[in-house]
Symmetry: C3
Subunit: 264 residues, 3 copies
């Protein structure tokens, strides 16, 4: 039988001891686990960024993967730790909406608030539940697979809406959800909502920062050097991109910036 | 039987080939090893930062974990490579004090200088002992567990004191040991030495940078927005913190800065 | 039997979901794989930097390791995906020269263009072949080891020359290939080509940025504080180094800068 997989998605960064400690805690409970980093560079305290990251990654892992997601500005307060079973994946996270994109993509969805403290590392600190609650719960789950043993089923879990584009007349307004490593501006606009983006006849103008873009090309390298173009990225979203350059710098826009599509 | 675990803590960063090479060397000697990164972002050449990092991480790993720690400004000089058995953990490192915090926490402590060159990768470079000495020694140890085979027991290993707070009258002087990923200032002050910090009646003033703090709250989110407060962190140290912000920026203080507590 | 090893070398960074997704895809196909990061911080779109990184790392891994290398500015265009068997290692990469250093070091060399689309993740995006082609091909190879099943042997694969030093009179002109984590300037000059560098009698002047260096020392710590010196690094190249400092900052030179050695 294959080893259980536990993934980690946090805003802890990789400069401190925090991530190493979580791995040590997991391996101390279940040495058979294959611990896999998704990223530890979610923007600090940014629930939307965390939600988008795990939302784009989890489905690519095998069934029965346990995903620990710790973006947790409210650590140590009344917010609850939860365990989630969504379709064929498990999630351990604070109940603050960081799993919202997972909820959106899950047909079957079971959520438990975690209350069985004998699974926690003791004493439980007020500031590092990654070590004291989320890592141990994930590790114990990978041994028993008994979700109900960890707490009580709930239905009032916290969920927020991933920002959706708005249409007014022949203009669709979206935003930049993320700036990726290459400086591409990943928007919340998709060809499903704006079918014109899938055409190649350029009957639209995309505005972002100081750019007015009339071209959507199939891939980054097909953009003329130095010019901002649109690309439908690998997750289905419109991205503003500059061939071998940073669109964020070139057009002067970042996370949260408005992106409009005017249809002509 | 569970696979042996070797952890890596270095100041090599993750942009070069160095860390990958160490992993390749380990797996070439013992393909069963589970190699786990603690961090590769110890401040360059900074023995104290390295000592604090491994000191806060190692105990969370299972017994028999082998920790390779490479912060090694003296690589290729007369400083010795050492192998350490401390309580239930093993360490491979340069003998420059980077294990000082481990020594402080270990009841039983055995140290060998590593001299058995047949365990080294040959030829041994003068500049990359992570590849040529520390990784291969760790990997061979994970096969044989025969510590004495690697060298001679020594007692004159290098050890430095982690900076301790000083009390003068009703003022306790400490320093900022580290700035963490979120900008929290981790000090060397603990409630053991300054019991007032554990109280909630505010009979003290903490000064760091331009801040005068009279509040110690149980967790980050309980600090008023934008205001610096004290928090007793997950490792027991007083941290100066700003709710959802960077205390380092807000109070204008960094690693090594003085932190005083005036008791009233 | 040991678990198969797949290494990853990319310019994806570690802030996005991309690397996590590749690992998920690999483990979904072959859960037995040990996925090892070499680095994800190759300079964006920089084929030379990628070639040097994998060229310095791969040989340290065990025979039969599969190395996935994705520096791919031409993703989604006509450039081919290839599978390479070089001596005892396997490589999966775009055919853009990123394996040039591997080719230089391989005695036996077999290259296939990958055309068997049933091994791809469907639908194949135009922008994320790491997920849709390279990761799945590497994972399937780790199960079958049947290289020829993936495509057709080719001999016209893309290969570029790693920049070599040039000699004119008693001056040898090289360049800075990389700046490492510590700020050392790694040049393309070696004692094989410039034997004087191996001597200790200082009958040469090395010029880089604003520095005129007459000393090559055995290791970093033997350089006088603050002074730029030469060091023959662990890969055999001359490096310009400052003891406990950044040579890049100290001499004002970076990647691609000219480095000359004048023999006297």
């Amino acid at each position: 039988m294959a080893r259980p997989i536990i993934t980690l998605t946090t805003d802890y960064g990789t400069s401190d001891h925090l991530v190493g400690v979580m791995k040590g805690v997991i391996l101390s409970i279940n040495p058979e686990v294959n611990v896999v980093d998704i990223t530890h560079n979610v923007l600090a305290h940014d629930l939307l960024d965390g939600a988008l990251t795990i939302g784009q990654a989890y489905k690519h892992f095998p069934p029965k993967t346990i995903h620990i997601v710790v973006v947790d500005p409210g650590v140590g307060t009344e917010r609850r730790p939860i365990l989630v079973a969504g379709d064929q994946h498990y999630f351990v996270a604070p109940d603050n909406g960081v799993l919202s994109s997972v909820y959106d993509q899950s047909e079957a969805l079971y959520v438990w608030k975690i209350i069985s403290e004998h699974y926690f590392r003791q004493p439980v600190s007020k500031t590092f539940h990654g070590r004291d609650i989320f890592a141990p719960v994930g590790a114990w789950l990978s041994k028993s697979w008994q979700t109900a043993a960890f707490g009580e089923a709930i239905t009032d879990f916290v969920r927020f809406a991933i920002p959706k584009p708005k249409t007014a007349g022949n203009t669709v307004k979206g935003i930049v959800l993320r700036v990726d490593q290459f400086g591409n501006l990943v928007t919340n606009l998709t060809p499903t909502e704006v079918p014109a983006l899938a055409s190649t006849d350029g009957k639209f103008t995309i505005r972002a920062g100081n750019a007015a873009i009339t071209k959507v090309v199939p891939t980054f390298a097909l953009g003329p050097a130095g010019e901002a173009v649109g690309v439908i990225g690998s997750s289905g979203y419109l991205e503003i991109s500059v061939n071998k350059g940073s669109a964020a710098r070139a057009v002067g826009a970042g996370r949260g910036a408005e992106v409009t599509v005017e249809l002509s």
